[in-house]
């Protein structure tokens, strides 16, 4: 009795000290993010079910081992090893044929041809790129760091996270995320490589932390009632600024991890979802975003969690469709539909959007018992404004003759850690600062972002292909086309109000109405056609990479107009068809072929790296 009282006393004292420490940190502005209590929330796992699941996995391992054609398996491994050795011998021979100066150049500054890293029918690359002594050592260090971060984050609640791997097909794609990093940084060296690593680290950390939360909350896994009470789900295309006013709640973009973000990591992820929903009669020419979201529901690939769901009409009616479907499939999850006016340039519609935001806040308060907090909202928005300033600085540098921050890592970081995160995570500010320092120093030294590959200034317009998120990397490495900016980044850059409450709502509405993709593809002719020509002039663009998302009805209406006007203005515009999340309609190889043809026939250009003209990556992630 005495002992238990003493233990209780110690426990209370420790809790008080912790609380005091947290308050002190909070006063100094050093708030831990995400709230450590979210990771520590108690889970209510059905151990028997999880054990059955594990038993099944173990059974499959044994069965596979018994059923496997071991002879064929080892023959394949032997063939691969032989092929690897032949490649090593060939590379060794090539090295011997080099002059000492050439050899020194490769050793110190890296290899020049990258197509040899791919092998037909393989999912993984043959080996990683040799970037030169210093940059390979740096790449290796960052590889270790990312594996450490991923393992450390999953260890914050390992069992639900592991169980998630045995439940959800999409989880395995995240395990292969380092391969995605390699593809995004291929050919990069020096400052460009360092900036890409910094940004990718944050993307992966954001992903890993949210994966742990999904696993903890999911009814099938962690089933944490304690955490679920604090979780507000919102549509993957809704930015997170709104959650700034609810500091005690955890906002999670619901379909982001099982569908949207993972489709950028792994081109094959969404195929089972699309097939599932199309087998129920959905036409195959529907946009793969809502198709995949609905398909994920059909195959039960979404965790069952949270107190409520905020759906939205962002960026287009596709989201409305998927949200309605979702609310019917999880009838126990209350849904609020945020439907902002599309005609956002008419200021009188902003008041309607504000009413919608107020309704949404009321809904969250009723569902969770939390209260809207203006102080924390303004604090987050101040951070978001500072991030916007950094973003504008990047644009200024990229507009010069010495653009510094280009490539897929920048595009993805902007989307996930700046716009979608909306200033929630204070750690992102540090990354912005570090990247800015590296960028400015590189600019002062007049460095080339892609060494020896800076031939054309490019812009990407319209919705990009998710299954080829590193397309801009290939453009630079193969043809020297450097994508300086893309349509999706040219959104609302006005500094948001941080004092007047009513005006703050107005600004938030304006921001949401002009969010990623919505501003252009749903804004009508002026915002997507005239705007393109304006940007082409501003950024002094040589080549327009014009994506044609074959299932986007909005953009399809403007194709002929864009084509005619580009011809009249004598701009180089390459139309590249794709089906957003379905690589079977237009493969990555077909996308590359469009560029190859244009560059050969119209530009009469020679490739920077001919080994990248034609290679097979249909099976790789």
């Amino acid at each position: 009795m005495v002992i238990s009282t003493e233990i209780l006393g110690i426990k209370n004292a420790l809790a008080e000290r912790k609380e005091l420490k947290a308050k002190k940190c909070s006063k100094k502005g050093k708030v831990k993010y995400p709230n450590p209590a979210f990771f520590k929330a108690k889970t209510n796992m059905d151990w028997k079910k999880q054990a059955d699941n594990l038993k099944e996995v173990a059974g499959i391992f044994v069965e596979m081992f018994k059923e496997a054609d071991h002879k064929a398996f080892w023959k394949l491994q032997l063939d691969r090893t032989k092929n690897d050795l032949e490649r090593c011998a060939l590379e060794f021979k090539q090295a011997r044929e080099m002059s000492p100066e050439e050899l020194k150049e490769v050793f110190l500054y890296g290899e020049k041809t990258l197509g040899k890293l791919y092998r037909k029918g393989d999912m993984a690359t043959v080996r990683r790129e040799w970037r030169g002594l210093a940059d390979t050592a740096y790449d290796f260090k960052e590889w270790l760091k990312i594996w450490g971060m991923l393992l450390g984050t999953f260890s914050k609640d390992l069992i639900p996270a592991l169980n998630s791997t045995f439940h959800y097909r999409w989880m395995i794609s995240y395990f292969c995320c380092i391969g995605f990093l390699d593809k995004n940084t291929m050919g990069q060296k020096g400052s460009a490589l360092r900036m890409s690593h910094l940004m990718t680290y944050d993307i992966f950390r954001y992903t890993a932390e949210n994966l742990v939360f999904l696993a903890k909350c999911d009814e099938k896994n962690g089933n944490s009632h304690e955490l679920n009470k604090k979780v507000v789900l919102f549509d993957e295309m809704t930015m997170g600024q709104l959650m700034g006013g609810f500091p005690d709640l955890l906002g999670i973009p619901y379909q982001l991890l099982p569908v949207f973000l993972v489709s950028e990591l792994d081109q094959l992820t969404c195929i089972p979802y699309i097939d599932a929903v199309e087998s129920f009669g959905l036409p195959a020419d529907t946009c793969p975003v809502p198709s995949s979201e609905c398909g994920a529901l059909v195959v039960d690939a979404l965790p069952h969690m949270g107190t409520c769901f905020l759906s939205s009409s962002m960026p287009c009616d596709g989201s409305v469709m998927a949200s309605s479907y979702m609310s019917r499939r999880f009838p126990d999850l209350p849904v609020y539909h945020l439907t902002f006016p599309v005609r956002y340039e008419y200021e009188e519609t902003t008041a309607d959007a504000v009413e919608d935001i107020k309704g949404c806040i009321k809904f969250v308060e009723e569902q969770t018992g939390a209260k809207w907090n203006w102080d924390t909202y303004f604090e987050q928005i101040k951070r978001f404004n500072a991030e916007t300033a950094y973003e504008l600085q990047k644009w200024e540098v990229n507009k010069t003759d010495y653009p510094q921050i280009i490539g897929p890592s920048y595009e993805l970081f902007r989307k996930w850690n700046y716009e979608m995160d909306g200033g929630a995570d204070p750690r992102i500010m540090k990354t912005f600062g570090k990247v800015n320092d590296i960028m400015m120093k590189a600019y002062e030294r007049r460095e080339e972002a892609w060494v020896g590959k800076m031939r054309y200034r490019g812009i990407v317009w319209s919705c990009p292909a998710h299954y080829y998120a590193n397309f801009s990397n290939w453009l630079a490495n193969c043809w020297g086309v450097n994508v300086l900016v893309e349509m999706e980044s040219l959104n609302f850059t006005k500094m948001l109000e941080t004092e007047d409450k009513e005006e703050a709502f107005m600004d938030l509405a304006r921001l949401y109405e002009r969010m990623v993709m919505r501003r252009h593809t749903n804004g009508g002719y002026h915002n997507v056609v005239d705007e393109l020509w304006k940007q082409v002039e501003d950024w002094r663009i040589d080549i327009i990479i014009m994506y044609q998302h074959v299932a986007c009805k909005n953009m399809a209406t403007l194709q002929g107009i864009l084509d005619d006007q580009a011809r009249d203005k004598n701009y180089n515009m390459i139309w590249i068809e794709h089906d957003l999340m379905d690589p079977r309609t237009v493969s990555r190889k077909s996308m590359r072929e469009k560029v190859n043809e244009y560059m050969r026939t119209v530009m009469k250009a020679e490739p920077v790296d001919a080994t990248l003209l034609d290679f097979d990556d249909e099976l790789s992630m």
Partner: protein
């Protein structure tokens, strides 16, 4: 003293070996190969077999609320 030097030597040797081993894993993408060729095919077989909740069995209705 000798013992300390020996221990330090062994530690440095072990660290160097670990570093070299990890570098080989990194350079030849052995982590990717393990995940792509062993872990993924096994788990895919498991995912294909799993019994899953049938969301289509849930009544198709929407709850109407007014928060405006």
């Amino acid at each position: 003293m000798n013992k300390i030097l020996k221990f330090a030597g062994k530690t440095v040797g072990a660290l160097a070996a670990a570093y070299a081993g990890l570098f080989l894993v990194f350079y030849f993408d052995l982590d990717g190969k393990l995940l792509y060729y062993v872990v993924e095919p096994t788990l895919i077989k498991h995912y294909d077999r799993m019994e899953r909740r049938d969301p289509l069995a849930v009544p198709y209705e929407q709850i109407e609320r007014d928060y405006m």
